[in-house]
């Protein structure tokens, strides 16, 4: 029995989005990641029923994306040092519906694990040919693609000899305020996973694995770049719409 195949708004009804399953999202208070200590709320969250403001969201279209924004290897006079990679995937909701024409933003360290940011000053060189920022729109099927270089791991001060596994930050909007997501894409088989509290803040093992991209030979380009696939799943809609009150 299929759920309804589309959700054109009916008069007076609003779509509703499912809550995330237990264990699929990190807690706000997670002592192993020390920076949560003074930044997590102590008071319990209060349930916000999904009404108009929560089931709508910004529609950020082509005006946000320049012609080379998706290719982080072509934003300077020369090419950046590092392993050239193609990172691509599909943005969908939990019902499998693609999210088309939607803004995907990424930022990352260079091949040596250094960010072009004023407070990142660990002894690894900046690359004059790499900014580490990309933007793309999903196509009509929800697919996006970036060309970049594989970021390096980098040290941080969370605990003794702490290193973050290589990752690319992703920011996506989906279709509704309630679907807004910022996450990190990791690379397969990183030996640092076992030691990283940010990665391990997600309780459910299967959910953690959804943050790990897959090597993609089919999208690896001979003599040019390795392919990695990273599909992103946002909250899906529940079957029961909300009856919007009338004034």
């Amino acid at each position: 029995m299929a759920v309804p195949t589309h959700h054109v708004a009916e008069a007076g009804t609003l779509p509703q989005y499912r809550s995330d399953p237990d264990g699929s999202q990190p807690p706000l208070d997670f002592p192993a990641y020390r920076s949560t200590g003074l930044r997590h709320p102590n008071e319990p969250l209060i349930l916000l029923p999904q009404r108009l403001t929560e089931v709508t969201g910004p529609v950020l279209g082509p005006g946000r994306v320049g012609p080379l924004d998706h290719d982080l290897t072509r934003q300077h006079a020369g090419e950046p040092i590092g392993q050239r990679i193609i990172v691509h995937g599909t943005l969908r909701d939990g019902n499998g519906r693609p999210v088309p024409n939607s803004l995907v933003e990424i930022w990352q360290a260079n091949a040596g694990g250094r960010y072009r940011h004023k407070v990142d000053n660990w002894p690894s060189p900046l690359d004059p040919n790499f900014t580490g920022v990309g933007r793309a729109l999903t196509d009509a099927q929800g697919h996006y693609e970036f060309v970049t270089i594989k970021p390096g791991a980098y040290p941080w001060g969370n605990h003794d000899n702490a290193w973050r596994p290589a990752h690319i930050h992703f920011s996506v909007f989906g279709r509704a305020f309630t679907q807004r997501l910022v996450t990190q894409m990791y690379f397969p088989d990183d030996p640092l996973f076992a030691h990283d509290p940010v990665f391990n803040s997600v309780p459910d093992e299967a959910a953690r694995q959804r943050m790990v991209s897959q090597f993609d030979l089919d999208n690896t380009v001979e003599q040019w770049a390795l392919g990695f696939r990273f599909d992103i799943v946002l909250r899906g809609r529940s079957a029961t719409p909300f009856e919007e009150p009338h004034q």
């Binding site: 029995m1 299929a2 195949t5 589309h6 959700h7 708004a9 008069a11 007076g12 009804t13 609003l14 699929s24 990190p26 807690p27 990641y33 920076s35 200590g37 003074l38 930044r39 997590h40 709320p41 008071e43 209060i46 349930l47 999904q50 009404r51 108009l52 403001t53 929560e54 089931v55 709508t56 910004p58 969908r92 019902n95 499998g96 088309p100 933003e105 940011h117 407070v119 580490g132 990752h167 920011s171 279709r175 509704a176 305020f177 309630t178 997501l181 910022v182 996450t183 990190q184 990665f199 997600v202 299967a206 953690r208 959804r210 943050m211 992103i232 909250r235 899906g236 919007e244 009150p245």
Partner: protein, 193 residues
């Protein structure tokens, strides 16, 4: 999005895919997320436009210089440019603001007052991201101009009375001030959305 674009890919009720987990924006979001026009919910020079300015504080009362605030709101008539608004979309209404905090932990959004929504007082939905937040926290900004509507707003009235004030902006020069206290005394009310 049309029905045609949506067809053929829907999973059945037993095959719902789990969501991708959230992760922190980390300390370096400022290289990637701020836009030059991020704070401008409405174009510069829009009649009635004002600033919402605030500081994000941690549990020690220290400003958070590596946070980002995003806002989402209806237009002055209480409408959105969105296909899921059953009253129809208002083309061209951006409704969205984004501001990273500066070295003093402050953000600024330039906007106009939203209109009332069916059964709700005018408000902005707000997301706060930062290093140390593994997921965003969500709050709302209400305005002191609408005190009467606050008394019957279903969200405000669901909040313990002594904490409701954390959701109401205060008038200031050039607009309003709305500080965010992530933790501790005067902790801002955050919602599970």
């Amino acid at each position: 999005m049309t029905a045609t674009e949506l067809s053929g890919t829907e999973l059945t009720g037993t095959e719902l895919a789990g969501p991708t987990p959230s992760q922190t924006v980390g300390p370096y979001l400022a290289i990637g997320l701020p836009w030059p026009d991020g704070p401008d919910v409405v174009p510069p020079g829009t009649p009635g436009a004002f600033e919402v300015v605030g500081t994000v504080f941690d549990g020690n009362g220290q400003p958070v210089p590596d946070a980002m605030v995003e806002t989402w709101q209806a237009d002055p008539d209480g409408r959105f440019d969105h296909p899921d608004d059953p009253r129809g979309a208002v083309p061209g209404w951006r409704g969205f603001g984004r501001s990273a905090t500066d070295d003093s932990g402050s953000y600024v959004i330039r906007t106009v007052l939203p209109g009332a929504l069916p059964g709700q007082a005018p408000h902005l939905d707000v997301s706060v991201f930062s290093r140390g937040l593994l997921n965003r926290v969500v709050t709302r900004i209400y305005f002191p101009d609408h005190q009467d509507a606050h008394a019957t707003d279903p969200v405000l009235t669901s909040v313990p009375e002594k904490r409701r004030g954390t959701l109401v902006a205060v008038p200031s020069e050039g607009g309003y001030r709305f500080d965010v206290h992530l933790q501790g005394p005067g902790e801002t009310v955050f919602f599970d959305v």
